[in-house]
Protein backbone atom coordinates (compact mmCIF):
# COMPACT_ATOMS: atom_id res chain seq x y z
CA UNK A 1 0.00 0.00 0.00
CA UNK A 2 1.23 3.47 -0.85
CA UNK A 3 1.44 6.09 1.89
CA UNK A 4 -1.19 8.20 0.14
CA UNK A 5 -3.75 5.37 0.35
CA UNK A 6 -3.18 4.98 4.07
CA UNK A 7 -3.42 8.75 4.52
CA UNK A 8 -6.77 8.70 2.69
CA UNK A 9 -8.05 6.02 5.07
CA UNK A 10 -6.82 8.02 8.06
CA UNK A 11 -8.47 11.12 6.60
CA UNK A 12 -11.76 9.24 6.41
CA UNK A 13 -11.55 8.40 10.13
CA UNK A 14 -10.71 12.02 10.95
CA UNK A 15 -13.59 13.25 8.82
CA UNK A 16 -11.09 15.04 6.61
CA UNK A 17 -11.43 15.03 2.81
CA UNK A 18 -8.34 17.25 2.23
CA UNK A 19 -10.22 19.69 -0.03
CA UNK A 20 -11.68 22.91 1.40
CA UNK A 21 -10.16 24.45 4.53
CA UNK A 22 -8.68 21.19 5.73
CA UNK A 23 -8.04 20.73 9.44
CA UNK A 24 -5.26 18.33 8.51
CA UNK A 25 -3.32 18.33 5.26
CA UNK A 26 -1.83 15.25 3.67
CA UNK A 27 1.66 16.68 4.15
CA UNK A 28 1.04 17.03 7.89
CA UNK A 29 -0.16 13.46 8.14
CA UNK A 30 2.81 12.17 6.13
CA UNK A 31 5.13 13.77 8.67
CA UNK A 32 3.23 11.97 11.43
CA UNK A 33 3.41 8.75 9.43
CA UNK A 34 7.19 9.05 9.08
CA UNK A 35 7.55 9.42 12.86
CA UNK A 36 5.08 6.65 13.68
CA UNK A 37 6.72 4.15 11.30
CA UNK A 38 10.09 4.79 12.98
CA UNK A 39 8.53 4.47 16.45
CA UNK A 40 6.83 1.26 15.36
CA UNK A 41 10.19 -0.17 14.29
CA UNK A 42 11.84 0.79 17.58
CA UNK A 43 8.98 -0.48 19.72
CA UNK A 44 8.35 -3.81 17.99
CA UNK A 45 11.89 -4.76 16.91
CA UNK A 46 10.36 -6.70 14.04
CA UNK A 47 12.89 -5.78 11.38
CA UNK A 48 16.16 -7.72 11.12
CA UNK A 49 18.99 -6.70 8.86
CA UNK A 50 22.39 -8.03 7.86
CA UNK A 51 25.03 -5.97 6.12
CA UNK A 52 28.63 -6.48 5.14
CA UNK A 53 30.68 -3.41 6.01
CA UNK A 54 34.10 -1.95 5.51
CA UNK A 55 36.22 -1.77 8.64
CA UNK A 56 38.41 1.30 8.63
CA UNK A 57 41.96 0.02 9.04
CA UNK A 58 43.21 3.06 10.93
CA UNK A 59 40.43 3.34 13.49
CA UNK A 60 38.63 -0.01 13.41
CA UNK A 61 35.40 1.88 12.82
CA UNK A 62 32.40 0.83 10.78
CA UNK A 63 29.92 3.43 9.56
CA UNK A 64 26.47 2.13 10.45
CA UNK A 65 23.66 2.24 7.94
CA UNK A 66 20.80 4.76 8.11
CA UNK A 67 18.24 2.17 9.17
CA UNK A 68 20.38 0.97 12.04
CA UNK A 69 18.49 0.41 15.26
CA UNK A 70 20.52 -1.76 17.60
CA UNK A 71 23.38 -4.17 17.01
CA UNK A 72 22.49 -7.80 17.52
CA UNK A 73 25.58 -9.59 16.26
CA UNK A 74 28.88 -8.25 15.04
CA UNK A 75 31.35 -10.30 13.05
CA UNK A 76 34.85 -9.66 11.81
CA UNK A 77 36.74 -12.02 9.54
CA UNK A 78 33.96 -14.58 9.83
CA UNK A 79 34.18 -14.70 13.64
CA UNK A 80 31.72 -13.43 16.19
CA UNK A 81 32.74 -10.60 18.48
CA UNK A 82 31.45 -9.82 21.94
CA UNK A 83 29.51 -6.59 22.16
CA UNK A 84 31.04 -4.55 24.97
CA UNK A 85 30.32 -1.18 26.51
CA UNK A 86 32.64 1.72 25.81
CA UNK A 87 33.54 2.04 29.47
CA UNK A 88 34.57 -1.61 29.68
CA UNK A 89 37.16 -1.51 26.97
CA UNK A 90 40.03 0.12 28.84
CA UNK A 91 39.76 -2.19 31.82
CA UNK A 92 40.01 -5.40 29.87
CA UNK A 93 43.39 -4.91 28.30
CA UNK A 94 45.51 -2.00 27.24
CA UNK A 95 45.38 -3.23 23.71
CA UNK A 96 41.61 -2.82 23.70
CA UNK A 97 41.79 0.94 24.06
CA UNK A 98 40.99 3.11 21.13
CA UNK A 99 44.37 3.10 19.48
CA UNK A 100 45.45 -0.45 20.35
CA UNK A 101 45.99 -2.94 17.58
CA UNK A 102 45.71 -6.69 17.51
CA UNK A 103 43.18 -9.39 16.75
CA UNK A 104 39.67 -7.99 17.28
CA UNK A 105 37.96 -9.44 20.33
CA UNK A 106 35.00 -7.18 20.79
CA UNK A 107 32.82 -4.60 19.18
CA UNK A 108 31.43 -1.43 20.68
CA UNK A 109 28.99 1.22 19.55
CA UNK A 110 29.21 4.97 19.80
CA UNK A 111 27.70 8.06 18.31
CA UNK A 112 24.10 8.45 17.26
CA UNK A 113 21.95 9.11 14.25
CA UNK A 114 23.78 9.38 10.97
CA UNK A 115 27.10 9.49 12.83
CA UNK A 116 26.56 6.21 14.66
CA UNK A 117 29.56 3.94 14.42
CA UNK A 118 30.60 0.48 15.48
CA UNK A 119 34.23 -0.06 16.39
CA UNK A 120 36.06 -3.36 16.45
CA UNK A 121 38.64 -3.48 19.20
CA UNK A 122 41.53 -3.78 19.15
CA UNK A 123 42.01 -2.24 15.73
CA UNK A 124 42.83 -5.15 13.45
CA UNK A 125 46.37 -5.37 12.14
CA UNK A 126 45.59 -7.67 9.26
CA UNK A 127 42.66 -5.87 7.80
CA UNK A 128 41.94 -6.26 4.15
CA UNK A 129 41.29 -2.97 2.42
CA UNK A 130 39.70 -2.60 -0.94
CA UNK A 131 42.37 -2.37 -3.61
CA UNK A 132 42.75 1.00 -5.24
CA UNK A 133 42.59 -0.33 -8.77
CA UNK A 134 39.87 -2.45 -10.20
CA UNK A 135 37.21 -1.23 -7.84
CA UNK A 136 34.26 0.85 -8.80
CA UNK A 137 34.93 3.41 -11.45
CA UNK A 138 32.90 6.06 -13.09
CA UNK A 139 31.43 4.87 -16.34
CA UNK A 140 31.69 7.28 -19.24
CA UNK A 141 28.99 7.36 -21.88
CA UNK A 142 28.38 9.41 -25.01
CA UNK A 143 24.93 10.60 -25.99
CA UNK A 144 23.38 11.13 -29.40
CA UNK A 145 24.39 14.75 -29.28
CA UNK A 146 28.01 13.65 -28.68
CA UNK A 147 28.13 15.10 -25.21
CA UNK A 148 30.08 13.06 -22.72
CA UNK A 149 28.51 11.96 -19.45
CA UNK A 150 30.08 10.44 -16.38
CA UNK A 151 27.89 7.99 -14.51
CA UNK A 152 28.43 7.46 -10.80
CA UNK A 153 26.34 6.27 -7.90
CA UNK A 154 25.36 7.73 -4.56
CA UNK A 155 23.55 5.58 -2.04
CA UNK A 156 22.25 3.43 -4.85
CA UNK A 157 21.13 6.38 -6.93
CA UNK A 158 22.63 6.62 -10.38
CA UNK A 159 23.92 10.07 -11.24
CA UNK A 160 24.87 11.22 -14.70
CA UNK A 161 26.99 14.33 -14.99
CA UNK A 162 28.25 16.12 -18.09
CA UNK A 163 32.00 15.83 -18.11
CA UNK A 164 34.79 16.71 -20.45
CA UNK A 165 36.45 13.32 -20.60
CA UNK A 166 36.87 10.75 -23.29
CA UNK A 167 34.00 8.38 -23.91
CA UNK A 168 34.50 4.68 -23.41
CA UNK A 169 33.24 1.89 -25.58
CA UNK A 170 29.62 0.89 -25.24
CA UNK A 171 29.07 -0.88 -21.95
CA UNK A 172 27.13 -4.11 -22.28
CA UNK A 173 25.34 -5.27 -19.17
CA UNK A 174 23.70 -8.61 -18.59
CA UNK A 175 20.17 -9.00 -17.32
CA UNK A 176 18.76 -12.43 -16.83
CA UNK A 177 18.84 -14.00 -20.30
CA UNK A 178 19.47 -10.85 -22.32
CA UNK A 179 22.32 -8.46 -23.05
CA UNK A 180 21.78 -4.73 -23.06
CA UNK A 181 23.77 -1.79 -24.39
CA UNK A 182 23.96 0.89 -21.74
CA UNK A 183 23.44 4.29 -23.31
CA UNK A 184 22.45 7.78 -22.41
CA UNK A 185 20.23 10.34 -24.09
CA UNK A 186 20.83 14.03 -24.46
CA UNK A 187 18.96 14.71 -21.21
CA UNK A 188 21.38 12.58 -19.29
CA UNK A 189 18.92 9.76 -18.76
CA UNK A 190 20.32 6.28 -18.85
CA UNK A 191 18.87 3.94 -21.42
CA UNK A 192 19.07 0.25 -22.14
CA UNK A 193 18.67 -1.15 -25.62
CA UNK A 194 18.87 -4.76 -26.67
CA UNK A 195 22.46 -5.56 -27.59
CA UNK A 196 23.84 -7.61 -30.43
CA UNK A 197 26.73 -8.59 -28.20
CA UNK A 198 26.80 -11.91 -26.42
CA UNK A 199 29.35 -10.92 -23.82
CA UNK A 200 29.13 -8.45 -21.00
CA UNK A 201 31.27 -7.06 -18.24
CA UNK A 202 30.49 -6.07 -14.70
CA UNK A 203 29.73 -2.40 -14.36
CA UNK A 204 30.72 -1.40 -10.85
CA UNK A 205 30.27 2.22 -9.80
CA UNK A 206 31.92 3.64 -6.75
CA UNK A 207 29.54 5.31 -4.35
CA UNK A 208 30.37 8.96 -3.77
CA UNK A 209 28.37 9.20 -0.54
CA UNK A 210 28.78 5.99 1.41
CA UNK A 211 32.46 5.67 2.13
CA UNK A 212 33.19 4.62 -1.40
CA UNK A 213 30.92 1.61 -1.24
CA UNK A 214 30.38 0.00 -4.60
CA UNK A 215 27.24 -0.60 -6.59
CA UNK A 216 27.04 -3.15 -9.35
CA UNK A 217 24.80 -2.10 -12.19
CA UNK A 218 22.94 -4.68 -14.22
CA UNK A 219 19.70 -4.94 -16.13
CA UNK A 220 16.44 -6.22 -14.74
CA UNK A 221 14.03 -8.58 -16.42
CA UNK A 222 12.28 -5.93 -18.46
CA UNK A 223 15.29 -3.82 -19.23
CA UNK A 224 15.29 -1.53 -16.23
CA UNK A 225 18.53 -0.69 -14.52
CA UNK A 226 19.29 -2.38 -11.28
CA UNK A 227 21.84 -1.36 -8.69
CA UNK A 228 23.11 -3.92 -6.25
CA UNK A 229 25.12 -3.12 -3.19
CA UNK A 230 28.63 -4.39 -3.65
CA UNK A 231 30.46 -6.34 -1.03
CA UNK A 232 33.49 -5.16 0.80
CA UNK A 233 36.52 -7.40 0.95
CA UNK A 234 39.05 -8.78 -1.48
CA UNK A 235 36.26 -9.90 -3.76
CA UNK A 236 35.40 -6.29 -4.33
CA UNK A 237 38.18 -5.98 -6.83
CA UNK A 238 36.31 -8.15 -9.25
CA UNK A 239 32.97 -6.53 -8.59
CA UNK A 240 31.43 -9.32 -6.57
CA UNK A 241 27.77 -8.53 -6.20
CA UNK A 242 24.60 -9.82 -4.69
CA UNK A 243 22.25 -10.32 -7.58
CA UNK A 244 19.91 -12.66 -9.32
CA UNK A 245 22.63 -13.95 -11.60
CA UNK A 246 24.69 -15.29 -8.72
CA UNK A 247 22.10 -16.76 -6.39
CA UNK A 248 24.07 -19.93 -5.95
CA UNK A 249 26.88 -18.05 -4.29
CA UNK A 250 25.23 -15.07 -2.67
CA UNK A 251 21.86 -14.61 -1.23
CA UNK A 252 19.22 -12.03 -1.09
CA UNK A 253 15.57 -11.76 -0.34
CA UNK A 254 14.82 -9.81 -3.45
CA UNK A 255 11.30 -9.65 -4.70
CA UNK A 256 11.08 -6.29 -6.35
CA UNK A 257 13.88 -3.80 -6.44
CA UNK A 258 15.93 -1.70 -8.72
CA UNK A 259 12.88 -0.33 -10.47
CA UNK A 260 13.34 3.20 -11.71
CA UNK A 261 10.85 5.15 -9.65
CA UNK A 262 11.75 8.75 -10.14
CA UNK A 263 13.78 11.01 -12.37
CA UNK A 264 14.57 14.59 -11.70
CA UNK A 265 17.12 17.20 -12.62
CA UNK A 266 19.49 19.00 -10.28
CA UNK A 267 22.62 21.09 -10.64
CA UNK A 268 23.17 24.29 -12.57
CA UNK A 269 22.92 25.09 -16.23
CA UNK A 270 26.64 24.69 -16.71
CA UNK A 271 26.95 21.45 -14.81
CA UNK A 272 23.60 19.73 -15.14
CA UNK A 273 22.89 16.55 -13.31
CA UNK A 274 20.08 14.16 -13.93
CA UNK A 275 19.39 11.81 -11.12
CA UNK A 276 17.54 8.53 -11.39
CA UNK A 277 16.23 7.20 -8.11
CA UNK A 278 15.97 3.47 -7.92
CA UNK A 279 13.87 1.67 -5.41
CA UNK A 280 15.69 0.02 -2.56
CA UNK A 281 16.08 -3.66 -1.99
CA UNK A 282 13.56 -5.50 0.13
CA UNK A 283 14.28 -8.31 2.50
CA UNK A 284 17.43 -9.46 4.20
CA UNK A 285 20.44 -9.15 1.99
CA UNK A 286 22.52 -11.94 3.40
CA UNK A 287 26.15 -12.19 2.67
CA UNK A 288 26.65 -15.91 2.85
CA UNK A 289 30.29 -15.94 1.88
CA UNK A 290 32.23 -13.61 4.11
CA UNK A 291 35.75 -12.47 3.59
CA UNK A 292 38.71 -12.14 5.86
CA UNK A 293 39.00 -8.59 7.06
CA UNK A 294 35.36 -7.84 6.47
CA UNK A 295 32.86 -6.78 9.10
CA UNK A 296 29.32 -8.06 9.12
CA UNK A 297 26.58 -6.42 11.15
CA UNK A 298 23.42 -8.23 12.16
CA UNK A 299 21.17 -5.59 13.57
CA UNK A 300 17.67 -4.58 14.49
CA UNK A 301 16.67 -2.16 11.79
CA UNK A 302 13.77 0.07 10.90
CA UNK A 303 10.99 -0.46 8.37
CA UNK A 304 11.60 1.06 4.97
CA UNK A 305 11.72 4.81 5.30
CA UNK A 306 8.67 6.80 4.27
CA UNK A 307 9.75 9.73 2.12
CA UNK A 308 6.53 11.14 0.71
CA UNK A 309 2.98 10.31 -0.27
CA UNK A 310 4.11 7.96 -3.00
CA UNK A 311 6.35 5.78 -0.88
CA UNK A 312 5.36 2.14 -0.81
CA UNK A 313 4.83 1.03 2.78
CA UNK A 314 6.69 -2.23 3.35
CA UNK A 315 4.47 -3.10 6.29
CA UNK A 316 1.96 -5.93 6.32
CA UNK A 317 -1.77 -5.19 6.04
CA UNK A 318 -2.11 -6.78 9.47
CA UNK A 319 0.12 -4.14 11.03
CA UNK A 320 -1.20 -1.07 9.24
CA UNK A 321 -4.05 -0.61 11.77
CA UNK A 322 -1.37 -0.18 14.45
CA UNK A 323 0.32 2.51 12.38
CA UNK A 324 -3.05 4.12 11.77
CA UNK A 325 -3.77 4.35 15.50
CA UNK A 326 -0.40 6.03 16.05
CA UNK A 327 -0.93 8.59 13.28
CA UNK A 328 -4.45 9.46 14.43
CA UNK A 329 -3.18 9.92 17.99
CA UNK A 330 -0.62 12.44 16.79
CA UNK A 331 -3.06 14.18 14.45
CA UNK A 332 -5.66 14.66 17.20
CA UNK A 333 -3.06 16.16 19.52
CA UNK A 334 -2.30 19.12 17.25
CA UNK A 335 -3.51 22.58 18.06
CA UNK A 336 -6.50 23.56 15.99
CA UNK A 337 -10.19 22.93 15.54
CA UNK A 338 -9.69 19.20 15.18
CA UNK A 339 -7.86 18.82 18.46
CA UNK A 340 -9.20 16.08 20.75
CA UNK A 341 -6.63 15.49 23.47
CA UNK A 342 -8.60 12.82 25.31
CA UNK A 343 -9.00 10.67 22.24
CA UNK A 344 -5.42 11.36 21.27
CA UNK A 345 -4.25 9.96 24.62
CA UNK A 346 -6.52 6.97 24.24
CA UNK A 347 -5.27 6.12 20.76
CA UNK A 348 -1.68 6.77 21.80
CA UNK A 349 -2.11 4.12 24.47
CA UNK A 350 -3.78 1.78 21.99
CA UNK A 351 -0.75 2.19 19.70
CA UNK A 352 1.73 1.52 22.52
CA UNK A 353 -0.22 -1.50 23.81
CA UNK A 354 -0.36 -3.05 20.35
CA UNK A 355 3.34 -2.45 19.76
CA UNK A 356 4.08 -4.08 23.14
CA UNK A 357 2.00 -7.15 22.33
CA UNK A 358 3.70 -7.54 18.93
CA UNK A 359 7.16 -7.15 20.44
CA UNK A 360 6.39 -9.71 23.15
CA UNK A 361 4.91 -12.15 20.65
CA UNK A 362 7.73 -12.00 18.14
CA UNK A 363 10.42 -11.44 20.78
CA UNK A 364 10.82 -15.20 20.89
CA UNK A 365 13.09 -14.79 17.90
CA UNK A 366 15.98 -13.28 19.79
Amino acid sequence: MKATELIDEIGELLGEDFTHNPLWTKDELVKDLIVVVRMFGELTLLVDRCRACLVDYTTGEIALPNDFGQLFFGQFSQEFLDIVGLEETEFLAEAWMADGTGVPQGITLWGSGDDAKARVIPVPTTIEVPAGGGTGVASVLIDDGVDIWTVTASEGILISTKAGVTASAVQVVYGFSAYWDLGINTSGELTLTASSSTTSSDLVLIDIALDGRDWAVSAGLSGVLVTDLGQWGPGLCTGVIVSESSVDTYQDGNSDYGILVDLYATGTSTTPEHVGKLSDDYGMVQFGDQYLGEGTMWYKGLPKEVFNLYTELVISDGLLPVIKHGVIARALNKDGDGQDKEKSKLLGNVFLSECDAIRNTFGKRW
Partner: protein, 241 residues
Protein backbone atom coordinates in the same frame (compact mmCIF):
# COMPACT_ATOMS: atom_id res chain seq x y z
CA UNK B 1 -19.94 -16.46 9.75
CA UNK B 2 -21.40 -14.04 7.24
CA UNK B 3 -19.73 -10.65 7.09
CA UNK B 4 -23.07 -9.00 6.34
CA UNK B 5 -24.42 -10.25 9.69
CA UNK B 6 -21.55 -8.59 11.55
CA UNK B 7 -22.13 -5.37 9.62
CA UNK B 8 -25.81 -5.40 10.54
CA UNK B 9 -25.06 -6.03 14.22
CA UNK B 10 -22.66 -3.08 14.32
CA UNK B 11 -25.09 -0.78 12.51
CA UNK B 12 -27.91 -1.82 14.87
CA UNK B 13 -25.81 -0.85 17.87
CA UNK B 14 -24.83 2.44 16.30
CA UNK B 15 -28.50 2.99 15.45
CA UNK B 16 -27.76 4.56 12.09
CA UNK B 17 -26.53 3.74 8.60
CA UNK B 18 -25.35 7.28 7.85
CA UNK B 19 -22.14 8.42 6.18
CA UNK B 20 -19.77 7.10 8.83
CA UNK B 21 -21.99 4.12 9.56
CA UNK B 22 -22.55 2.95 5.98
CA UNK B 23 -22.04 -0.70 5.16
CA UNK B 24 -18.91 0.15 3.15
CA UNK B 25 -17.44 2.09 6.07
CA UNK B 26 -18.24 -0.61 8.65
CA UNK B 27 -16.83 -3.26 6.30
CA UNK B 28 -13.47 -1.45 6.36
CA UNK B 29 -13.47 -1.71 10.15
CA UNK B 30 -14.20 -5.44 9.96
CA UNK B 31 -11.37 -5.98 7.50
CA UNK B 32 -9.02 -4.09 9.81
CA UNK B 33 -10.16 -6.28 12.69
CA UNK B 34 -9.56 -9.48 10.73
CA UNK B 35 -6.04 -8.47 9.76
CA UNK B 36 -4.93 -6.89 13.01
CA UNK B 37 -6.31 -9.83 15.01
CA UNK B 38 -4.34 -12.23 12.83
CA UNK B 39 -1.10 -10.60 14.04
CA UNK B 40 -2.21 -10.32 17.66
CA UNK B 41 -3.54 -13.88 18.00
CA UNK B 42 -2.06 -15.85 15.07
CA UNK B 43 -5.53 -17.39 14.68
CA UNK B 44 -5.51 -17.90 10.92
CA UNK B 45 -3.52 -21.13 10.61
CA UNK B 46 -3.12 -22.86 7.27
CA UNK B 47 -1.07 -25.72 5.96
CA UNK B 48 1.49 -25.20 3.25
CA UNK B 49 4.84 -26.45 2.05
CA UNK B 50 8.03 -24.87 0.84
CA UNK B 51 11.20 -25.88 -0.89
CA UNK B 52 14.66 -25.25 0.46
CA UNK B 53 17.44 -25.47 -2.07
CA UNK B 54 20.49 -27.43 -1.06
CA UNK B 55 22.82 -24.49 -1.40
CA UNK B 56 20.72 -21.79 0.24
CA UNK B 57 19.34 -21.95 3.71
CA UNK B 58 16.96 -19.04 3.44
CA UNK B 59 13.65 -18.94 1.72
CA UNK B 60 10.62 -16.71 1.51
CA UNK B 61 7.46 -17.81 3.27
CA UNK B 62 4.72 -19.02 0.95
CA UNK B 63 1.46 -17.22 0.18
CA UNK B 64 -1.81 -19.12 0.15
CA UNK B 65 -3.82 -19.70 -3.02
CA UNK B 66 -6.17 -16.83 -2.13
CA UNK B 67 -3.22 -14.44 -1.72
CA UNK B 68 -3.06 -14.50 2.08
CA UNK B 69 0.50 -13.94 3.30
CA UNK B 70 2.17 -16.12 5.92
CA UNK B 71 3.43 -14.19 8.95
CA UNK B 72 5.31 -16.94 10.74
CA UNK B 73 5.45 -20.72 10.66
CA UNK B 74 4.08 -22.42 13.77
CA UNK B 75 5.05 -25.97 12.90
CA UNK B 76 7.71 -27.13 10.44
CA UNK B 77 8.60 -30.70 9.51
CA UNK B 78 10.59 -32.48 6.83
CA UNK B 79 8.13 -33.78 4.24
CA UNK B 80 10.04 -37.00 3.60
CA UNK B 81 11.28 -38.05 7.04
CA UNK B 82 8.51 -36.36 9.01
CA UNK B 83 11.10 -35.08 11.47
CA UNK B 84 10.17 -31.83 13.12
CA UNK B 85 12.32 -28.78 12.42
CA UNK B 86 12.55 -26.86 15.68
CA UNK B 87 12.37 -23.11 16.19
CA UNK B 88 15.39 -21.47 17.78
CA UNK B 89 16.24 -17.98 18.88
CA UNK B 90 18.53 -15.86 16.79
CA UNK B 91 21.10 -15.93 19.57
CA UNK B 92 21.15 -19.73 19.46
CA UNK B 93 21.68 -19.90 15.74
CA UNK B 94 25.23 -20.75 14.81
CA UNK B 95 26.52 -18.01 12.60
CA UNK B 96 30.06 -18.24 13.77
CA UNK B 97 32.00 -18.62 10.55
CA UNK B 98 31.78 -18.59 6.80
CA UNK B 99 30.10 -21.98 6.88
CA UNK B 100 27.05 -20.59 8.64
CA UNK B 101 25.01 -21.82 5.76
CA UNK B 102 25.60 -25.19 7.34
CA UNK B 103 25.80 -27.33 4.20
CA UNK B 104 26.21 -30.78 5.70
CA UNK B 105 25.82 -33.93 3.63
CA UNK B 106 23.34 -36.38 5.06
CA UNK B 107 21.81 -34.13 7.69
CA UNK B 108 18.30 -32.74 7.57
CA UNK B 109 17.43 -29.33 8.83
CA UNK B 110 17.00 -29.34 12.58
CA UNK B 111 16.43 -25.69 13.35
CA UNK B 112 14.71 -22.73 11.83
CA UNK B 113 14.65 -19.02 12.52
CA UNK B 114 12.20 -16.37 11.31
CA UNK B 115 13.61 -13.04 10.21
CA UNK B 116 11.75 -9.74 9.74
CA UNK B 117 8.09 -10.81 10.02
CA UNK B 118 7.00 -7.30 9.11
CA UNK B 119 5.90 -7.81 5.48
CA UNK B 120 5.69 -10.63 2.98
CA UNK B 121 8.62 -9.11 1.06
CA UNK B 122 10.77 -8.94 4.17
CA UNK B 123 10.04 -12.11 6.10
CA UNK B 124 12.38 -15.04 5.60
CA UNK B 125 12.83 -18.47 7.03
CA UNK B 126 16.41 -19.55 7.71
CA UNK B 127 17.15 -23.23 8.34
CA UNK B 128 20.24 -25.06 9.51
CA UNK B 129 21.87 -27.37 8.72
CA UNK B 130 20.95 -28.06 5.13
CA UNK B 131 21.81 -30.94 2.91
CA UNK B 132 23.95 -30.25 -0.09
CA UNK B 133 21.33 -31.63 -2.45
CA UNK B 134 18.88 -30.17 -4.89
CA UNK B 135 15.75 -29.46 -2.92
CA UNK B 136 14.36 -30.22 0.51
CA UNK B 137 10.62 -30.02 0.98
CA UNK B 138 9.25 -28.82 4.29
CA UNK B 139 5.66 -29.05 5.50
CA UNK B 140 4.60 -25.92 7.28
CA UNK B 141 1.61 -24.92 9.35
CA UNK B 142 1.77 -21.18 9.49
CA UNK B 143 -0.15 -18.15 10.73
CA UNK B 144 -1.48 -15.99 7.91
CA UNK B 145 -2.88 -12.51 7.40
CA UNK B 146 -6.22 -13.04 5.63
CA UNK B 147 -7.13 -11.18 2.46
CA UNK B 148 -9.76 -8.43 2.32
CA UNK B 149 -13.32 -9.74 2.55
CA UNK B 150 -16.60 -8.40 1.16
CA UNK B 151 -20.02 -8.34 2.79
CA UNK B 152 -21.25 -11.54 1.12
CA UNK B 153 -18.26 -13.61 2.28
CA UNK B 154 -18.62 -16.43 4.75
CA UNK B 155 -15.37 -16.08 6.71
CA UNK B 156 -13.34 -18.70 8.54
CA UNK B 157 -13.26 -16.90 11.87
CA UNK B 158 -13.85 -18.80 15.14
CA UNK B 159 -17.58 -18.53 15.83
CA UNK B 160 -17.13 -18.31 19.60
CA UNK B 161 -15.04 -15.16 19.12
CA UNK B 162 -17.27 -13.55 16.53
CA UNK B 163 -17.75 -10.54 18.80
CA UNK B 164 -14.10 -9.63 18.23
CA UNK B 165 -15.12 -8.24 14.86
CA UNK B 166 -18.20 -6.58 16.33
CA UNK B 167 -16.29 -4.73 19.07
CA UNK B 168 -13.48 -3.61 16.78
CA UNK B 169 -16.09 -2.45 14.28
CA UNK B 170 -17.67 -0.31 17.00
CA UNK B 171 -14.24 1.04 18.02
CA UNK B 172 -13.51 1.90 14.39
CA UNK B 173 -16.79 3.79 14.13
CA UNK B 174 -16.32 5.67 17.42
CA UNK B 175 -12.82 6.78 16.39
CA UNK B 176 -14.39 8.59 13.45
CA UNK B 177 -16.67 10.71 15.63
CA UNK B 178 -15.34 13.70 17.59
CA UNK B 179 -15.62 13.02 21.30
CA UNK B 180 -17.17 9.66 22.31
CA UNK B 181 -13.91 8.76 24.06
CA UNK B 182 -15.61 6.61 26.67
CA UNK B 183 -17.48 4.55 24.05
CA UNK B 184 -14.30 4.28 22.03
CA UNK B 185 -12.36 2.99 25.02
CA UNK B 186 -15.07 0.59 26.17
CA UNK B 187 -15.37 -1.09 22.78
CA UNK B 188 -11.59 -1.37 22.47
CA UNK B 189 -11.35 -2.93 25.94
CA UNK B 190 -13.99 -5.48 24.97
CA UNK B 191 -12.02 -6.21 21.81
CA UNK B 192 -8.78 -6.63 23.75
CA UNK B 193 -10.46 -8.87 26.35
CA UNK B 194 -11.66 -11.26 23.66
CA UNK B 195 -8.46 -11.39 21.66
CA UNK B 196 -6.66 -12.09 24.95
CA UNK B 197 -8.75 -15.26 25.23
CA UNK B 198 -8.07 -16.08 21.60
CA UNK B 199 -4.34 -15.58 22.11
CA UNK B 200 -4.29 -17.84 25.17
CA UNK B 201 -6.17 -20.56 23.35
CA UNK B 202 -3.86 -20.26 20.37
CA UNK B 203 -0.76 -20.43 22.60
CA UNK B 204 -2.06 -23.43 24.56
CA UNK B 205 -1.97 -25.60 21.47
CA UNK B 206 1.83 -25.40 21.49
CA UNK B 207 2.66 -26.21 25.11
CA UNK B 208 6.37 -26.86 24.60
CA UNK B 209 7.22 -23.18 25.01
CA UNK B 210 9.02 -23.27 21.69
CA UNK B 211 8.37 -21.05 18.76
CA UNK B 212 6.31 -17.93 18.43
CA UNK B 213 3.17 -17.70 20.52
CA UNK B 214 0.77 -14.77 20.72
CA UNK B 215 0.98 -12.65 23.85
CA UNK B 216 -2.25 -10.90 24.91
CA UNK B 217 -2.50 -7.14 24.50
CA UNK B 218 -2.28 -5.42 27.87
CA UNK B 219 -4.46 -2.35 27.76
CA UNK B 220 -5.28 -0.82 31.13
CA UNK B 221 -5.85 2.77 30.07
CA UNK B 222 -8.72 4.48 31.84
CA UNK B 223 -10.10 7.79 30.61
CA UNK B 224 -11.67 8.55 34.03
CA UNK B 225 -8.43 8.11 35.93
CA UNK B 226 -6.59 9.99 33.26
CA UNK B 227 -9.11 12.81 33.48
CA UNK B 228 -8.76 12.96 37.26
CA UNK B 229 -4.98 13.07 37.03
CA UNK B 230 -5.21 15.97 34.60
CA UNK B 231 -7.62 17.79 36.89
CA UNK B 232 -5.36 17.30 39.88
CA UNK B 233 -2.39 18.57 37.95
CA UNK B 234 -4.30 21.66 36.90
CA UNK B 235 -5.40 22.21 40.51
CA UNK B 236 -1.78 21.94 41.62
CA UNK B 237 -0.68 24.41 38.97
CA UNK B 238 -3.30 26.87 40.13
CA UNK B 239 -2.17 26.55 43.73
CA UNK B 240 1.43 27.17 42.74
CA UNK B 241 0.35 30.22 40.79
Amino acid sequence: MLVSTVITNIQNTLQTTGVYRSSAFVLKGINEALKLTSYLTLYDERRSSLLLTGTRNVTELPADSDGAEMIVPRYVANSVSGNRVNPVRMIDFELSNSNWEGVISGADSEYYLVLSPVHELEVELMCSPIQNIGLVQLDVIGAYVPVTVIDTDDIAFPEQYGEVLYYYGLFYAYVSVPGMVQECMDSYKDYVRLIGLMAEESASRFPSDQGIKPVPVEFDYDTITRFDMDSQRKDGERQVA
